[in-house]
């Protein structure tokens, strides 16, 4: 299926780059781009290739730093004071969003949703209803995706998963745009066995309605969502380290992700520059550049290390990760994905144990592979449920 590039600050130039060809879809970022820039981006994307362009209106956190959001024509000027239970308010928003999407010429729009205080059935009814309204407002063949925001912790409850899936699937749209909200620190992997198994089950339930699921804001956890059957996963250049969090919308546009990282398939982990040398010196060089971690950009990094050792490589690191993501997303076809992933994770765990046994300690204290076992457990729980 298609990997999506989740656009962020100054990422438009990544679209269509060498060895990122697996990304045939783009999720626009109205927070980072003015309406004029969005229009220009789409024209440029169309010239570069036949990209599937999705608009995420990003109204999740109305009171956060809004960047360019307030300049968008659909942005409700009364969002701070409006009664968000009002049907009229949502209808107006949806009509304006549809109009904006049509003028931009996107392929699909994710229905607008805000992060709730309480993740209750009424909230999901509102989400389903908003998606229905959007579908009815879009007139020019633009697809509607039902935005399904879930609370990471709540997904540990199997009945909550079925309830959410039942409610949001009531509206017949072209697919789902899944957003996972959590308090897990941005630089940490999800590591809840039950929570991850629940999210995987949600993906499976939604896919069973024959409408594709696009899991937004993914990092390496894409592996689990693909194993669950997600048609598409989206990531961005900073998503090598960060995922959807409320704080993400409060960060300065230039903040975060400035250290260079290499994504390593054999460990399902990000490595800092010194870690690469450390592994080689300890006799674990064969763990570097395994599977899709070996790509055009990994070679560029190696070449640069050899020829210009002091030169910054953060931008190459983004691309090395994105290239791994796009290729690996394609390498996990349903229904064999769970068994493929089980093999990868088992191997990763063995590799981490070997590093531990040899007392090879990576730069970051928590970069110890501790999430691999919960991922395996979540995968087992998912497969056996």
């Amino acid at each position: 299926m298609t990997a999506y590039l989740q656009m962020g600050s100054d990422t438009e130039n990544l679209v269509g780059e060498t060895d990122l060809e697996e990304f045939h879809g783009i999720v626009l970022s109205p927070v980072n781009r003015t309406p004029l820039e969005l229009g220009q981006d789409i024209s440029a994307f169309r010239r570069k290739g036949n990209f599937d362009v999705i608009m995420d209106p990003q109204l999740y956190v109305p009171d956060s730093e809004r960047g360019c959001l307030q300049e968008q024509t659909y942005f409700p000027s009364d969002i701070d004071t409006a009664d968000l239970t009002s049907d009229i308010w949502w209808s107006t928003l949806v009509d304006q969003l549809a109009s904006c999407a049509e003028s931009l010429g996107v392929n699909a729009v994710a229905s607008p949703a805000v992060l709730p205080n309480v993740w209750d059935p009424e909230y999901y009814t509102r989400c389903a209803d908003t998606a229905r309204r959007l579908r009815e407002s879009l007139t020019s063949g633009i697809n509607t995706l039902t935005t399904v925001m879930v609370d990471y912790n709540q997904m540990s409850d199997p009945n909550a998963v079925l309830r959410v899936a039942s409610i949001v699937s009531e509206t017949d749209t072209s697919g789902y745009y899944l957003v996972i909200d959590s308090t897990v620190e941005p630089r940490r992997e999800f590591s809840g066995e039950r929570e991850l198994a629940g999210i995987m089950n949600l993906v499976r339930q939604l896919e069973a309605t024959e409408r594709p699921v696009l899991v937004s804001h993914c990092s390496s956890d894409m592996l689990l969502f693909k194993a669950a059957g997600a048609a598409h996963c989206a990531t961005g250049k900073f998503f090598n380290l960060r995922r959807f969090t409320r704080s993400r919308y409060e960060d300065p546009a230039t903040g975060g992700g400035q250290l260079p990282y290499w994504f390593e398939h054999s460990l399902v982990s990000f490595l800092r520059g010194p870690d690469l040398g450390r592994l080689t010196d300890a006799g674990f060089g064969s763990l570097i550049g395994v599977a899709a971690s070996s790509n055009y950009w990994s070679q560029r990094i190696r070449d640069q290390f050899a020829n210009e050792p002091g030169k910054a490589w953060v931008a190459l690191g983004w691309r090395q990760y994105l290239s791994w993501f796009g290729k690996t997303e394609l390498a996990l076809p349903t229904p064999t994905a769970p068994s493929i992933l089980e093999g990868w994770l088992r191997s990763a765990e063995d590799n981490w144990i070997a590093l531990e046994d040899s007392n090879v300690l990576l730069d970051e204290p928590r970069n110890n592979g501790g999430w691999v076992r919960p991922w395996r457990q979540a995968l087992n729980r998912f497969v056996n449920s």
Binding site: P121, L162, A165, I167, S169, E170
Partner: protein, 284 residues
């Protein structure tokens, strides 16, 4: 045999018939809120004149029923020709509706003589799924699908869905209070989400579940969730507990080539058929 009930509103019906140019009025049935009369238009079309007692029926629900029927246009849903409020000489205002007269009896009548053959189940199911498809396109949920509310035209073997008294318009605010332990519907035919008043889960798949119960009873003569020796309330309890239908029913459905009914009866809506189109494929 018991004598037929006496209509309470015969005088009102006669007044109304004169006002609406209906002739040959005959009393047919009495319900909790309304009385039904057979009548003929000046063109000879046979219609059902329904008179609703304003002191007994819920104004908001009646309005929704009328509005819903006005929007419907399906051969498998009873047609509404006229409706309104009538000020009678007794000084009271009555709701009335002039609907298609279905004189082929109810599914309940048919099931008293024999169970349905698998082919009949498929045939009725295909018609009624089309009715559900139409309702879904209008964002409506019937919420009271049961053999009493499935009727037939005289001489035809095509079922017609009637009685929209509990219809829910999903695009309008719910009239059901959240604190109620159980939502509107007939418990014996209700989905788990109705039995729990789980309003957010009410949708077209709620009707799909009830239709599955009806088809299951039509096929086997027993409620699909009924275990040997169970009473009706106990059977409803099994549905409310989100258990699966009985092994005996699953076997019977399989043997009849109607295993799809089992999926219609999944405890959670997400596990039922996701679209009427998919459900229709099961029966065609």
């Amino acid at each position: 045999m018991s004598s037929p009930p006496t209509p309470s509103h015969l005088a009102v019906a006669n007044e109304l018939a004169r006002a609406t140019n209906l002739n040959n009025l005959t009393f047919k049935a009495q319900g909790a809120f309304k009385e039904t009369f057979r009548a003929e238009t000046v063109h000879g079309t046979v219609v059902a004149l329904k008179i609703l007692d304003p002191s007994k029926c819920d104004l908001a629900r009646t309005s929704r029923e009328i509005e819903a029927l006005q929007r419907c246009d399906s051969p498998y849903i009873a047609k509404l020709f006229d409706s309104g409020t009538f000020h009678a000489s007794d000084g009271k205002d009555y709701f009335f509706a002039v609907e298609e007269f279905l004189d082929g009896g109810t599914l309940t009548d048919r099931l008293t003589t024999a169970a349905l053959s698998p082919d009949q189940v498929k045939s009725y199911a295909a018609c009624l799924v089309r009715a559900l498809d139409h309702l879904r396109s209008l964002n409506l949920v019937h919420r009271d699908i049961k053999p009493d509310n499935i009727m037939f035209r005289l001489g035809a073997d095509l079922p017609v869905l009637v009685d929209f008294g509990l219809v829910r318009d999903l695009s309008a605010i719910s009239l059901t209070q959240t604190w109620l332990p159980q939502g509107p519907g007939t418990p014996y035919y209700a989905a788990p989400e109705q039995l729990h008043n789980d309003k957010a889960l009410i949708g077209w798949r709620t009707d799909q579940f009830s239709l599955g119960i009806v088809l299951g009873i039509g096929l086997t003569g027993r409620h699909p969730f009924e275990r040997p020796g169970m009473t009706m309330p106990q059977t409803v309890g099994v549905v409310a507990a989100r258990q699966s239908c009985s092994n005996e029913f699953m076997q019977a459905a399989n043997d009849a080539g109607l295993a799809g009914i089992v999926q219609m009866l999944a405890p959670w809506p997400i596990h039922r058929y996701s679209s009427p189109r998919r459900l229709l494929e099961v029966f065609e």
